[in-house]
């Protein structure tokens, strides 16, 4: 990978990596640190990483860094932070359904949340998600379906409550 390839990766993937992390942990500063660390590792290993695998490499590194950060800040409440981030990062997406959905996602466990985010935000396939999260394809499928069922149930419940 050349310098130009690396800089292209910055342009193409930095936003996505940051979004994935900040939606997961809900903390901007920590998310920025994780993104910087992930790209630093990509730069160091640029000779080994091919360009077409750079995105997967970045998300993998960022995901594992995020897991470490979550373990470090286990006591920290993610839900409140997520709501704060929601207001800052998405000032124009204030629909009621989205709020309900974001609240429901915050009640998922970190693995399910990452699965949903990687699938919905980044559009990764089951196989790619499995590579990033060290899961098998069938595990990704099962966990993701379970997360969808939870979200569906939450949506139904919240809609009934709001109605």
């Amino acid at each position: 990978m050349t310098v130009q390839d690396y800089n292209n990766c910055v342009d193409q993937y930095s936003d996505g990596v940051y979004r994935f992390i900040v939606k997961n942990i809900g903390h901007e500063a920590d998310a920025q640190d994780i993104v910087q660390t992930a790209f630093e590792k990509l730069w160091v290993n640029r000779e080994k990483v091919e360009s077409f695998k750079a995105k997967s490499y970045l998300f993998t590194i960022a995901y594992h860094l995020m897991i470490d950060q979550i373990r470090k800040d286990k006591k920290e409440s993610i839900t409140n932070n997520f709501e704060e981030i929601k207001g800052q990062a998405h000032p124009n997406t204030n629909s009621e359904l989205k709020q309900i959905l974001l609240r429901a996602i915050n009640e998922l466990n970190p693995t399910q949340k990452s699965l949903v985010l990687l699938k919905d935000y980044e559009g990764y396939s089951y196989q790619e998600i499995g590579e990033i999260m060290n899961l098998s394809e069938s595990q990704v499928k099962v966990y993701l379906h379970r997360a969808r069922q939870i979200l569906k149930g939450k949506l139904i419940h919240l809609e009934k409550m709001s109605a």
């Binding site: 690396y6 990062a89 935000y121 379906h145």
Partner: protein, 319 residues
């Protein structure tokens, strides 16, 4: 048809995740047309899909890298910067080892010196005991007996000078050694193994005979003047012989007493100790420690090599 009511949920989930093939998608659409209730289920599941938000990472400038960042130093310059860890090889002759080896060597030398001292004492003791037990030569037996007898007994006549040989055989203080006047008296400083006891006894017998005859000629005058202090075997033997001879101072009983003296002498000579033969040749530098023989030349060569190693080590350290 693969899709049915039991597996419709899996197909619906795979559908919203875009994991269905074209064929399965078409089959699902046909199924949903036939079952509108599952179409509502699909619409509800689609609501669980998050819309991609526009989140911008603002610090991209921190992530960019530039080609000048790849600038590397030339290898020749890098080689000048390299530092190799030098292994500190501790020499064999450290200060503690030198001290310990020196102390061991000093102890060894002290032990050898002590052994030398002990062996020299033994030699001197052996010499004097040998001197006291020394049989005299035949050629000048009469005169030897005349001169040796008083010296053995402890006192000499005034004509021969004053000589004192202590009974312990350790100290000789003499102004005029009578022994020097005896031409055939040979000081034997070796321990001799008297292998031929008969020969020695014959010599002793002849000495005694000569001594006896001399006593007869002297008419016992000198004997009475001597102060007999029998502490060793030979003076005791002679003293005993003299004591036996003294009461029979006449010519008639001389032969019988002589025979008795000879018999006594023989029996006592048989009881004498065997002496070892020590070679005191100057060229022999062997040191006997216990049963080990250590060559003096080899020890000297060994010490010379050790000194050479010390010097070499010292020179290396100075360098």
């Amino acid at each position: 048809m693969k899709i049915n009511i039991q597996n419709i949920d899996t197909y619906l989930m795979s559908y919203i995740d875009n994991e269905l093939s074209l064929a399965d998608t078409k089959e699902l659409e046909i199924f949903l047309e036939a079952h509108p209730a599952y179409a509502k289920e699909l619409a509800l599941l689609k609501q669980t899909i998050l819309e991609a938000d526009e989140v911008v990472y603002e610090d991209k400038q921190l992530l960019y890298r530039y080609s000048e960042m790849e600038a590397t130093l030339p290898s020749a310059f890098k080689n000048q910067l390299y530092r190799q860890e030098t292994k500190v090889v501790e020499g064999f002759f450290t200060m503690t080892k030198i001290i310990s080896i020196s102390s061991v060597a000093a102890l060894f030398l002290l032990f050898i010196g002590y052994r030398f001292y002990i062996s020299n004492n033994d030699l001197s003791n052996t010499f004097f005991s040998q001197l006291n037990k020394m049989p005299f030569k035949n050629s000048n037996v009469g005169s030897l007996a005349n001169t040796a007898q008083p010296s053995i007994n402890g006192k000499l006549d005034k004509d021969n000078g004053e000589a004192l040989i202590t009974a312990d055989n350790n100290i000789i203080a003499s102004k005029n050694l009578a022994l020097e006047k005896v031409p055939n008296f040979k000081i034997v400083n070796k321990k001799q193994i008297v292998s031929d006891k008969q020969k020695q006894s014959d010599i002793e017998v002849s000495n005694l005979i000569a001594f006896n005859s001399n006593e007869q000629n002297a008419a016992g005058g000198s004997i009475s003047e001597t102060n007999i202090t029998p502490n060793s075997n030979t003076p005791e033997l002679i003293n005993k012989t003299i004591a036996e001879l003294e009461p029979t101072n006449n010519n008639e009983t001389t032969n019988e007493s002589s025979k008795q003296a000879i018999a006594n002498t023989k029996t006592q000579l048989e009881e004498k100790e065997n002496y070892e033969n020590i070679d005191t040749d100057d060229h022999d530098r062997s040191v006997y420690i216990a049963n080990l023989e250590i060559d003096g030349d080899k020890i000297r060569g060994f010490s010379r090599r050790i000194n050479a190693i010390f010097k070499r080590n010292k020179n290396d350290k100075q360098k």
